[in-house]
Amino acid sequence: MDEDDFLEPGQGMSQDQRAELGLGALVFVVVGLLLAMLAFVVHEAWPSFAHNGIAWFGPGGSLDQQIQAIINSGQLKEAPVYTFHAWALIWSTILITVGAVAIAFPASLFIAVFIVEFAPPWLRGTLEPVVRLLASVPSVIYGLAGVLVIVPFIGNHLITQSQKASVTPIIQLSGASLLAAVLILTVMIAPIMIAVFVDGLRAVPRGWLEGSLALGVNQWRTFWKVGVRTVRPVLVAGTVLATARAMGEAIMLSMVSGSVPFAPNPVDGLIFFFEPSQPLAATIIHNTEALNSPPMKATLYAIGAVLLFSSAMLSLIGWTAKQPMRRYGVIA
């Protein structure tokens, strides 16, 4: 680059000042767009919330029939029907997200510690690019692998005939289940967590670890007590990011979760893990064809508003949790 790039005078402002103004304006545009989007989604969703009130979030009735009635009322131009009780969808979202994050978190933490501190250089050189590649695989690919491999395997080898017979005709144990959804979602979000954790662990000042090692503390204990403890804010940030991804995942879950608005019941014992369900985001995917029905459109926007609100709350909780940890040093 030539010198004159930086020395060009422009209407009495330095290049730095212009950059500051320009970028600042961009940030305002982005924040403005975000607020406008929030307002738009809530506005579109309002009829559904207004009609159901707090019962929107509660259980009651067959969701399938409610959705059918909502769609038909719009397409046949009858009086709009809005009755919608989303508990089965919310419960499914909670189960699948919490399940996947609960498995992915410890696994990712151990893998990240291994990559940063214990892996020999050649293995580290292979593992890191593989993890970053996995983090960028589109979710529909995971969905395909689920539909073609995992779901048939669970359906044909893990689920027995007597289990199937015991729940029919209420639900079908086809292999598309809570188990398949949690397993695949775990594989999907773990690379994101690992990538964030690895970056955090790398940022731990070498001197802090060396101080501990010099006192005769072994490598494992040093890294666990000094390294991992220091990056706790990073662990929170990575988990929040991965949880948001898990909550909003739609395509893959619509393919492997069973896509029946049924609330899996832990009292059912082993069958619980084989029960189908349908999370919120997958419900939007399933019903986009019915967007021409105005009440269904409002219902889908209401689901979207709930997802948006949950993501915002998640970020807020993550931010709050990080505050007391900040004094330890590494900041995410």
Binding site: I67, Q68, H286
Partner: protein, 276 residues
């Protein structure tokens, strides 16, 4: 390189791209359509063949679902739509044309020896009355039935409901898939499964086996003479007041020409009005 010369380079590149883009657009009309995703494979072949006959006509088709397509036409966002169900009251200001025929087949896994079902039996399976293959009869299986269907917002489901279920909805043990291809995959992977799948996705190589309905097989001949119980028309949709002449001409070609008829039959649907 200085900033100025980089800006100049960028400007030159932009102009070059614009110049290259112009000849492709000049003189050609692009007909924008949207609608059914199930019929997209057949429409794509028709678009290609029509473009070879009329070099200046191109197509841009968005498979956003039949219902969404009609809405696009009503809003003026698209010139035409393709839908798999007859007109509804919500389709105001649009005109429907029958383009060609399609059939919805009932398929089982090839490991199932079942060869025929009645409409009543099919209804019992998909409403949760019959839950074991023993209850149906004619099958070598004595396992739980795994019915597979489409999601309730799909045009294919609406059609299946009207043709088979009557006023009832499919029962909660029916696994719901978002596309025809996914239903076929699910049935091909599960020996106990049964599903309703479009003719184009039920053929050889799909991994599923068609069963006859009331003794009538789901074939092009039986759909054409309307003896197969689940035949349906595929509809072209135009705005009533401002229909594009170019699209009308294309619809006429699809409905009547011999060439379009052969293409439709080869692609897995059934030509209805085309010259022999």
């Amino acid at each position: 390189m200085t900033l100025r010369s980089r800006v100049r380079g960028l400007a030159a590149l932009t102009v070059a791209i614009a110049v290259m883009a112009v000849p492709a657009a000049a003189g050609a009309t692009t007909l924008f359509g949207s609608g059914s995703s199930a019929e997209q494979p057949i429409l794509n072949v028709l678009f290609k063949a029509y473009n070879q006959l009329h070099r200046n006509v191109k197509f841009n088709y968005l498979p956003d679902g039949g219902n969404a397509g009609v809405q696009d036409v009503q809003a003026g966002r698209r010139l035409f739509a393709v839908n798999t169900r007859p007109p509804l009251p919500s389709d105001a200001d649009t005109t429907y044309f029958k383009l060609f025929l399609d059939g919805l087949c009932v398929d089982v896994n090839p490991q199932n020896s079942l060869s025929n079902l009645t409409v009543a039996q099919t209804k019992d399976i998909f409403t949760g009355v019959d839950t074991n293959w023993v209850q149906v009869g004619g099958s070598n299986l004595s396992t739980t039935i795994d019915p597979v269907g489409r999601n309730s917002a799909a045009g294919s489901y609406t059609f299946f409901q009207q043709a088979i279920l009557g006023t009832q909805t499919q029962s909660s043990n029916v696994a719901q898939e978002t596309s025809d291809g996914l239903v076929a995959t699910a049935v091909s992977k599960d020996p106990d499964a049964i599903g309703y799948i479009g003719l184009a996705h039920s053929g050889k190589g799909s991994g599923v086996k068609k069963v006859t309905l009331n003794g009538v097989s789901c074939s092009q001949a039986n759909i054409k003479n309307e003896t197969y119980p689940m035949f349906r028309y595929i509809w072209g949709v135009l705005p009533t007041n401002r229909a594009s002449p170019a699209v009308e001409k294309f619809f006429d070609w699809v409905r009547t020409s011999k060439q379009a008829g052969q293409i439709i039959n080869r692609a897995g649907a059934v030509a209805a009005f085309n010259k022999k």
